[in-house]
């Protein structure tokens, strides 16, 4: 059953009692939270995701609790709890929904060692995927959000889940996290897109999450093969430049961007080599999303040259 079939109050009731079980990519999360903004965010952004019933095994139970005791009256705070632990420091209560997103990323990054996990966006066209690793501030999420509204399918905005047996990349299909000016850029680039309520003054600045197009969530089961590795960089005023980059250096950088490359040891090296072998690697500099769309479509057109 899709989340959209549930009324907002039904979602809230589930979150407050035994939890709402959501299928998110290959994982299942039980989300427990009494905080209204968590329910609002889920209803707005996860409408097309599947709600599982109690008969399913749940990978991770995530609780976004309200601060209790005296703290409740001085400062309203949201706290992430996992297995009875609190891995992060509490945040102001209105950060609760982004906190849920970060918590889910943490669960995957810390535990899902049956994938090679890269800190990277992944988009796909005609079965071929672009892996886009980049440090914060490089415009990765903005580029990813732009492209998935111009013919590319979203696999993930944050985490590439790469199979350890082949190199297939499994979609995670979570909302795209946009920061600061990118929020306005995407609002005008994609009229009618759905955003979560903006949260001010987080550690990443002003944050809003953008809903994944419904057609992409429908195809959440479809994996894709890596074909390109592109390191994007937003440079104000620049012309688009797609410059080939050495495979060796790209592999090093991907390894550095991985959450569990070291954990996987030799296996990680083997899988990453295969990803790099199968991929053309580029540095991509841009300032205009329309230029980027053209440059990425050109990659597809030239792929068999």
């Amino acid at each position: 059953m899709k989340l959209e079939k549930l009324s907002a109050s039904a979602v809230q009731n589930k979150l407050k009692s035994n939890g709402l079980i959501l299928k998110i990519g290959p994982f299942s999360f039980r989300i427990i939270s009494p905080i209204a903004s968590v329910a609002d965010g889920l209803v707005a952004l996860y409408a097309n995701h599947v709600v599982l019933d109690d008969s399913h095994f749940v990978d991770y139970t995530v609780t976004i609790a309200s601060a209790s005791g005296w703290r409740r009256w001085t400062r309203r705070q949201a706290i992430f709890q996992f297995d009875g632990m609190e891995p992060f420091i509490p945040l102001p209560e209105d950060h609760a929904f982004p906190l849920l997103e970060w918590s889910m990323n943490w669960c995957i990054a810390m535990h899902a060692h049956h994938y090679l996990l890269l800190h990277s966006a992944v988009i796909e066209k005609e079965g071929c995927a672009v892996v886009m690793p980049a440090p914060p501030g490089s415009g990765k999420s903005t580029l990813c959000a732009g492209l998935v509204h111009r013919g590319w399918r979203l696999l993930s905005d944050e985490l590439a889940l790469i199979s350890l047996t082949g190199t297939a990349i499994t979609p995670l299909g979570r909302p795209i996290s946009l920061k600061n000016q990118s929020i306005e850029v995407m609002r005008s680039f994609v009229p009618g897109a759905v955003f979560s309520k903006e949260v001010l003054d987080t550690s990443k600045g002003r944050v809003s999450l953008m809903k994944v197009p419904t057609a992409h969530t429908e195809r959440i089961q479809e994996t894709a093969q890596p074909r390109w590795v592109v390191f994007p960089k937003y440079v104000a005023g620049s012309l688009p430049q797609m410059v080939p980059r050495s495979k060796a250096n790209s592999m090093l950088e991907l390894g550095r961007n991985s959450f569990n490359y070291m954990v996987l040891g030799l296996k990680g090296f083997e899988v990453l080599s295969k990803v790099i072998d199968a991929s053309d690697c580029y540095d991509f500099q841009y300032s205009q999303l329309d230029d980027a769309v053209a440059a990425f479509d050109d990659l597809v057109a030239r792929r068999n040259d």
Binding site: S55, H56, F57, V58, D83, H113, G265
Partner: protein, 359 residues
């Protein structure tokens, strides 16, 4: 009160991975909180049960196997780095706990996770050892003069040393319990019986009976019980490895008597029998019975440890768990230091916590 699922896995000889989905979730939560997920995974591997684990839970076990294998690979590497760093120091280097289990190929090491490497050297070689480690890149992060003095004067180890590049930690010991402790142990006495590690000249581990006693005293002297169940399983596996050796049981009791560690051994045996159907020979139990504490202390400790050895996970908490853990925390401090040292120390620590010094 029900037996925690995690304990049942080791307690039931015919255990099979047939659980409801809610039970799997609770089992994994308990195992993660007790640092036992990889050990749980290896138990399934060793008994050939991994293919019987349903598709949903199985990747969690497989992921844990990868993490543990990688950590063990790193610990072997670190141990070799430590050995090379200390080549110039003319002293035996004794590996303790996890690193010792791993390097000596004991079954306890299967799927064991590591947070640091513990080594022991003679008290008068601490300074040399520390400076050689310093030369090889290990530094102390302890900046506070009071804490520094607390470690140096009253503890059985110096403040942890961190490698500046690899961020790995070493705990450098001169004995296994604080010199102020009720269960103080002379490090020299342990050094007399150390065993060389084959293939690693200069490296040693404690004698089997000393390993068991160290594990027992560690379990019952620690104030934090996050690893309580893991430590008890360490003991369970150590006994399994050593009990077949001729004269082991008598040697263990004699050594416990000689080192003054009868009470930790008594409590450890009690809980191993209670939780894991541990069955030492009757003569051993008879002699141990006479070495145990008074009946009040027995009953109280059995109750407190019974709660504290449950995994620290919401699925295992009872209304008394918090109290039992707190009492054990207080007890661990009372065992570590006499009151005339403990009271000023705790006052000082709470002052430091309330008014931290500006850096």
């Amino acid at each position: 009160m029900s037996t925690p699922l995690l304990t049942a896995v080791w307690a039931e000889p015919g255990w099979r991975p047939q659980l409801s989905v809610r039970e799997w979730e609770a089992l994994f939560g308990q195992a993660r909180q007790s640092s036992l997920l990889a050990r749980l995974a290896y138990l399934h591997v060793d008994k050939g049960l991994l293919p019987e684990v349903p598709d949903g839970p199985r990747p969690h076990l497989e992921g844990a196997l990868r993490l543990a294998d990688r950590q063990q690979h790193e610990v072997r590497w670190e141990v070799d780095c430590i050995r090379r760093a200390l080549r110039g120091v003319d002293t035996p280097i004794v590996l303790l706990k996890g690193a010792a289990y791993l390097m000596a190929d004991l079954s306890t090491a299967r799927g064991r996770l590591f947070s640091d490497i513990d080594i022991l050297v003679p008290h008068d070689r601490i300074a040399d050892t520390e400076s050689a480690l310093f030369g090889a890149g290990w530094i102390s992060d302890e900046r506070d003069a009071y804490n520094e003095r607390y470690y140096r004067e009253w503890m059985h180890e110096i403040p942890p040393l961190r490698h500046i590049h690899r961020q790995s930690y070493i705990d450098l010991h001169h004995t296994i319990t604080p010199p102020t402790s009720r269960f103080k142990v002379d490090g020299q006495e342990l050094l007399r019986n150390i065993q060389p590690l084959a293939g690693y000249p200069g490296l040693y581990v404690l004698a089997p009976v000393d390993m068991v006693l160290h594990s027992a005293v560690h379990l019952f002297q620690e104030g934090e019980f996050g690893h309580g169940l893991r430590d008890l399983l360490d003991l369970h596996d150590l006994f399994a490895d050593f009990q077949g050796r001729p004269g082991f049981w008598d040697a263990l009791l004699n050594r416990a008597d000689g080192l003054g560690l009868q009470i930790p051994l008594f409590h450890a045996t009690f809980h191993l029998r209670r939780l894991f159907q541990f069955s030492p020979p009757p003569q051993f139990l008879e002699r141990l019975e006479k070495m145990g504490p008074n009946p009040v202390s027995r009953t109280l400790m059995a109750w407190m440890l019974g709660l504290a050895l449950r995994p620290d996970h919401p699925s295992c908490d009872s209304r008394w768990t918090g109290l039992a853990r707190w009492l054990l925390y207080v007890r661990s401090h009372a065992l570590r230091m006499p009151m005339r040292l403990l009271v000023p120390h705790l006052l000082r620590k709470s002052w430091m916590q309330r008014f931290p010094q500006k850096p």
